[in-house]
Symmetry: C2
Subunit: 207 residues, 2 copies
């Protein structure tokens, strides 16, 4: 799209909106024109929510999850199992796992995974603070729940090595065929891994 | 999606973003987390552009197009043909026609079309100001370029009736088969109209 916009204000708004991921110039224009049709209070509320989010958001001191206070609601919950820590890449993963309702432990948000291609090294992630948490001696098991990509595997291995000198169990979430998937259409790597990592039938029906 | 978000600030931002058309909760969350990863200046620039757009935007006094000054650049352009007025529904239509580079006249933006289902009557649109422009006697032709829907046709007819007492030619943009379309796949109404409104072969090759 190479439209001459009739107003500098409109052009600014379109450019800013189009800089968001997944929003192109055409969608940005549609959003800007929608904003023009709504009353001023609507635009102000939207702008305020955006700035407040960025300005006042806090990260949990313990797990680095997004939070409204120093310690997030998960870490502050005495009912949860604080000896079980699930290591995830980002906040969305915490929400995804929370939605399953299957995990009663706490989290540790790395803020990314090791990716030399994107210039992200171990120092850019919350790995040191994970080691420090483990060093306190209260954590019995660290579950690595990272993406099943090369970068995820690298990060898993890096953390595993770092934790090897501590008395803590390190596990990885199960990889295999998704529930509802057909064997025929499963990719070879997943299928291969799922045969390697097969579980006893008695174990599999417990869940 | 029914996720418990870990922060009220995040929840506010997600709700505000999700209130925009075409943006669901999932996209809103992705945008909010993206904003968190960028620096504060980015969020502020976005918020400022949104508020400034809504607060300071001006509409052209003559054609009601969005503008940075009282009279828009199109209406203020002495090279354009001010005796030829193209009536459109909204600002996007102006931009679409401008992009063709085929129209050298000026515009009149109605701000919508007559749609009793949506509670939009002639009084909600810039029809009176169109009549006033025509009444000045300088306009020779009014081209109606509205959607080819029932509502568009109703609005066309309403404007046509209102203008019938003035010495002005009223025309409608051509409706027919789109360039590149195959007869076989054209819907019956378009095909029927395109036969009714056939043009002399000599005229058709002039363009």
């Amino acid at each position: 799209m190479n439209q001459k916009l009739p107003s500098v204000l409109l052009e600014n708004a379109v450019n800013e909106l189009a800089s968001l991921p997944g929003i192109g110039k055409k969608t940005a224009l549609r959003l800007a024109l929608y904003l023009l049709r709504r009353d001023i209070g609507y635009a102000e509320a939207l702008a305020e929510a955006i700035v407040n989010l960025r300005r006042h958001v806090v990260y949990c001191k313990q797990c680095h999850n997004i939070s409204d206070s120093e310690i997030c609601t998960i870490c502050a919950n005495p009912v949860r199992d604080h000896t079980l820590v699930c290591v995830v890449e980002n906040i969305k993963d915490v929400m995804a796992i929370e939605n399953t309702g299957q995990f009663k432990g706490v989290y540790h948000v790395l803020g990314g995974i090791i990716s030399p291609m994107d210039g992200i090294g171990p120092g850019d992630l919350q790995i040191t603070s994970l080691i420090e948490r483990v060093a306190k001696g209260e954590i019995k098991e660290v579950i690595l729940a990272l993406s099943t990509t090369m970068e995820g595997d690298t990060t898993n291995f890096f953390i595993y090595r770092k934790l090897s000198s501590y008395d803590v169990k390190v596990s990885v979430i199960a990889r295999g065929i998704s529930i509802g998937d057909e064997i025929e259409y499963t990719d070879e790597i997943t299928l291969g891994r799922s045969i390697q990592n097969r579980t006893s039938f008695n174990d599999s029906i417990k869940i």
